[in-house]
């Protein structure tokens, strides 16, 4: 006699949880101890309706719909602090947070600020909605000229993936020009993609738009395949992360370095060029996607210490415990939403720490940071002036004219 089987359509929680098991190391979601470390370390955990630990509890209780009805997961800046601290090494950022944003986005539940960044990325290949034809306009009038691969039509040693904010943001363009100057001072044979380059797509991916990420990655991949180069360098940790950790799965695999790694390899050539002393106390902000996610902590500090006159001090949060600037995971495009929810900015928190460290220069190595931290410097009280510089700007300054 056949045993009656009660078949039941799996609930949303069950379907969602099984999709998490498919993420790298996703089976670790089974091992959550509910210790709450993730929610405690999350820079916005205190004000989320469902911080990461409660989200996992909600899944287990078959009540994830409650999480989906709340919108505070958009406060997640994909900074990996939760994944870093988790004693069970659960892929909270890559799995839970990103997958939740993906589900919300598929359901059409997207904050409008984020929507326009995503639409722009799709249409123009950059989140700010600038003309793709103007992507290399930052390099106009630079002498010597910056070689563009499509025009040069020759192999280069180094392909420089410039990125969105370094290409278009007026403040970050100064960082970009500094990197061009330093590469030229070192006699590096390099080229850029110029108008053929698209957004790396990593932050769009972490904001839940996986399909858009794949579309952008395929565009970049097809362009990269056309040219010959030995390695890729970039000043953008998000582009670095995408090229290193995400593009290979889509069939585009190239050696890639953040510019700080590349320059440390050339440190002996660089050192004699660093002539001008910069007498300053400097602190360094570890970008999430350079430090915590990809383990690059030493190279930026080695470069700073090579500049004559610089005294390096650390902020309270440094290395793996570094604080997010607030721009990751879509935060760059959710300033209004974030402010409405939290009435505070992560960048201000960080700048307070920089002030407390006694530094007069806050150095960074990610293109999201100069504008975010400079705005924060303007909006908080601080007894001494504080300047925000990318490391490469100090190197260019030390090289001089």
């Amino acid at each position: 006699m056949a045993t009656p089987v009660i078949s039941k359509k799996p609930s949303f929680s069950e379907t969602f949880l099984s999709s998490l098991y498919e993420v790298d190391n996703g089976e670790r979601f089974r091992t959550c101890l509910q210790c709450g470390s993730c929610s405690g370390v999350c820079p916005f955990g205190y004000m989320m309706d469902y911080p990461p630990g409660r989200m996992i509890a909600g899944l287990r209780a078959d009540e994830f719909e409650l999480v989906m009805d709340a919108d505070t997961v958009w406060m997640c800046v994909s900074c990996y602090a939760c994944a870093q601290i988790c004693p069970s090494k659960i892929p909270i950022t890559a799995g839970l947070m990103t997958r939740t944003k993906e589900e919300l986005l598929l359901a059409g539940n997207v904050p409008s600020e984020l929507q326009s960044a995503l639409e722009n990325s799709q249409r123009y290949g950059n989140p700010m909605g600038e003309s793709p034809r103007k992507r290399a306009d930052w390099a106009i009038n630079l002498q010597p000229p910056v070689p563009i691969m499509g025009k040069e039509r020759r192999p280069v040693e180094v392909l420089w993936f410039v990125g969105d904010y370094p290409s278009y943001h007026p403040r970050v363009q100064s960082v970009t020009k500094s990197l061009a100057k330093v590469l030229q001072a070192l006699g590096i044979d390099f080229g850029i993609l110029g108008p053929e380059e698209n957004s790396d797509g990593d932050t769009q991916r972490l904001a839940g738009e996986r399909g858009l990420f794949e579309m952008l990655a395929e565009k970049n991949g097809r362009i990269l395949e056309r040219y010959q180069f030995e390695k890729i360098i970039t000043s953008d940790p998000h582009a670095y992360n995408a090229l290193k950790n995400e593009y290979p799965a889509l069939g585009f695999s190239y050696p890639v370095q953040h510019y700080t790694q590349f320059l440390v390899e050339h440190l002996e050539q660089l050192r004699p060029l660093l002539k001008k002393e910069i007498a300053a106390t400097v602190t360094y902000h570890d970008p999430c996607y350079l430090g915590r996610v990809n383990g690059i902590f030493d190279e930026p500090r080695m470069l700073l210490e090579a500049i004559p006159g610089i005294k390096l001090v650390e902020m309270a949060h440094n290395h793996t415990s570094s604080l997010c600037c607030g721009g990751g995971g879509g935060g760059m495009w959710l300033d209004g939403f974030t402010w409405e929810k939290a009435h505070t900015r992560l960048s201000e928190w960080r700048v307070h720490e920089a002030v407390d460290s006694g530094a007069n220069i806050l150095t960074v190595a990610c293109p999201y940071e100069p504008p975010r931290f400079e705005d924060a410097v303007k909006s908080i009280q601080h007894p001494e002036p504080l300047v925000v510089k990318d490391i490469i700007e100090l190197i260019a300054e030390s090289i001089g004219e």
Binding site: L106, G108, E119, S131, L212
Partner: protein
Amino acid sequence: MNIVVPVKLVPDLVEELSIDPSGIALDTAWLRMIVNEFDDHAIEQAIILKEKTGAHVTVISTDIEGVDDLLFTAAAKGADRLIKLTGDIEGGINNHALARALANIIKELQPDLILTGVQAHNDLDGTLGPQLAEYLGMPYVGYISGVNVNGDKVEIRKEYPGGLIGEMEASLPSLLGIQASEQPPRYVAISKVRQMMKTMSIEEMTLSALDPTGAATVNRMFQPEALEKATMLSDNPDEAASQLVDIFKEMGLL
């Protein structure tokens, strides 16, 4: 409830526009086309009505670069039928010709309601909606920011200058020029659009002979011309002050 949404692609102003050598039209070589913003709201309003009361939504556009993306995106939002109009449209179509040709095609679709953007920035010969309504013999109301279907009538909210809103009723079938949808146009994930590309098909229909008569003729198209240049004063406050004094004297103010 059968809703038809005719939409236009217009030049994207993110790119700088240039005039072609004829001097009477835009140089299309560098043009990037984008859905007319008001038409995007018309699509959204149609989808909102479909969700509220149930409807079959047809989106129609002409076959120019970008039209497939536009139509598949509309499908991902909820449009049921996609139509692309082909024909001799290389040199662009004015709204008189488009309205006449669209009227023939839309008649066959037997719509209860037609929603279109109230205007487009490339309307050189009047907006499309009223012309189309005339050829279809339907009532037209423009500047609409809210639509409710009630039996064989539509209740509409019309925006007037100065912040006034009018609430009125129109009988179906009718044609509405949409100023703004009730909700901003929604975002659809790229994966959904890609899925539509695999599962939905775009029907092609041929535009009959285009008749552009009645439209104004463009004699000359040109960038805004500066008539008098501004005078820039010096950065130095003292020099700027004495420059100002000289200028004021010259103008007889001092």
